[in-house]
Symmetry: C2
Subunit: 330 residues, 2 copies
């Protein structure tokens, strides 16, 4: 059966994260046919991870009843600075990679053209192509998860800047002297509104005697930081005022970050996604939008949309598939 | 004599400010031949200001022993949001203009092609063309004066975004809950490091018993806010520790703003200018650069230059001349 299918439009999109590798097989019109999921095992080193990415691709293709020969291209979103021309991952702190020739190694391994980009760029590209039909000339993507990342589309194209590191939205300082960030500075957006920041603030509030329902959700031996964004939503819906306030604060910081990006980039669309926003869209979006409108300069936000992505978990594999399809056309 | 000169490369650049109109006549290779200076008198209304701009242009041309017939084009940098295609000033709060058809009205008045852009964009364009030979693909200009403005060159071209308001660097929030800004928000870069912000902080420190030499520099009936950036430099060089500390703080905020812009735009060059920086370059630049390097993400500032513009007061007229020359070629 599979052998009779056209090879024309079969694309695999890979979302390479610090903890897991997702792969999705996409048919014509970017229809998702099948997926696979493996853990990354970055501690085993670069070669082992390349092998696992290859296996993830083959698992997904097999799941879809196709063979690798029918795949025209593979796109990969990787967590770090990427040179999309050479397909090298310049540095990826989560994976402890530096100057890793991912495109070359995977093409050798799989015999299919591979295109590599930064993960947040890929998610922005996916939203741009799939949710907005590729129309916006200027668009900014913001992804709230364990950390905070961003992607820029300027003049219809991904924008990387001089060192391919443009769009490091998470390390925009919003509050000089604010909480310590993983990057070593203080007051970065990521230190104020990421999942890590939200759980840190909850833990601090509990230490000061604050009451939360989250304790009841812990399994044996688990700590607050082991919980997920969905647990925050559950707690809020059960009436947890402490969690509600801290999530609202994170939404307000996010709104100020959005205003900064409107003032700086003046894009047509700001799209928000990532695990925190996917889980807490109802709790956060109205605050984000109102704050962003309030803080952006008068007149600058005219006609600008601030929206939550509908792609959810599939943002990475979808964007990677868009990347691969674009790469083939280029 | 003038009549025998070639018309080929005679360009007039105009720097339209809230208080004064500067015009400069530029010969081949953008050599500055003569200048003029008038007060803007914006309270007299739009038509009167257009008339004064025209007079400023004619004064400068006459000063250079040329006639208007020999001018190929006029460029204007205007303080507000500009649509460079139509040549309209969309809004300019300092002039109280809205949807002002400046290009059309000046062309009718002078019979010479007119090109209009935002003033900070024009200054960035001038630095890009004259100081860096048009080479940097991505460059950000920051201008510290009464307020703070910016300009963006991305992929070799001025970037305006959706509503032509991109690059509103002065209203990037750096300190949530910080000092009140003229825009109505709190903690904007402009509220932390502009001349207005510096003098406000000095006045606050004096009210709390701080000692400064600036009082001796005041003329009869003058207040601290009547002083200029050059007076700050004089006070610091006479040993005024209060002014020195406040200027150093402004430089540190500026460095953090520069780091944010490196993290977001990753340009090859960040160029700084404006009255505050021109007067206090020796006091501020080393702190700005060190802070920016410290706050930008590891690896992102590789090969990126952070420099003070050498154009000084001539940045506006020079950039406007570059704008006009570009416009003719387009």
């Amino acid at each position: 059966m599979a052998e009779t299918s056209s090879k024309q439009d079969l694309i695999v999109g890979v979302d390479l994260g610090g903890t897991k590798v997702l792969a999705g097989v996409f048919g014509p019109q970017l229809k998702l046919v099948a997926t696979s999921k493996l853990s990354t095992k970055s501690d085993r080193g670069y070669d082992a991870v390349v092998e696992r990415i290859a296996r993830g691709v083959m698992d997904a293709v097999d799941e879809a009843d196709f063979s690798l020969k029918q795949v025209r291209a593979i796109g990969i979103g990787a967590p770090g600075a990427v040179n999309p021309e050479s397909g090298e991952v310049i540095f990826a702190p989560n994976l402890r990679w530096k100057d890793a020739p991912l495109k070359k190694d995977l093409e050798k391994r799989l015999g299919v053209p591979v295109f590599v980009e930064n993960d947040c760029n890929v998610c922005t590209l996916g939203a741009h192509a799939v949710e907005f039909g590729g129309r916006p000339r200027h668009m900014v993507g913001i992804f709230l998860g364990t950390g905070i990342g961003g992607g820029l589309i300027l003049n219809g194209e991904l924008f990387g800047g001089h060192n391919r590191t443009a769009g490091e939205i998470g390390h925009m300082v919003l509050e000089v002297g604010g909480p310590k960030c993983g990057c070593g500075n203080r007051g970065c957006f990521e230190a104020l509104a990421s999942r890590t920041a939200i759980f840190r603030r909850i833990a601090e509030a509990v230490k000061e005697g604050g009451k939360t329902l989250l304790g009841e959700m812990l399994g044996p031996g688990e700590e607050l930081s082991d919980l997920k964004s969905g647990d925050l939503r559950k707690a809020i819906r059960k009436g947890d005022k402490l969690v509600e306030k801290i999530v609202e604060d994170a939404a307000e910081y996010t709104g100020i970050a959005v205003a900064n990006l409107i003032n700086l980039f003046n894009p047509e669309i700001i799209v928000l996604g990532g695990g925190v926003l996917d889980a807490l869209e109802d709790e956060m979006m109205a605050i984000i939008v109102a704050t962003a409108r309030d803080y952006s300069m008068a007149g600058t936000d005219k006609g600008i949309e601030i929206v939550a992505s509908k792609l959810g978990d599939a943002a990475g594999i979808t964007g990677s598939a868009v990347l691969a399809r674009r790469g083939l056309k280029a």
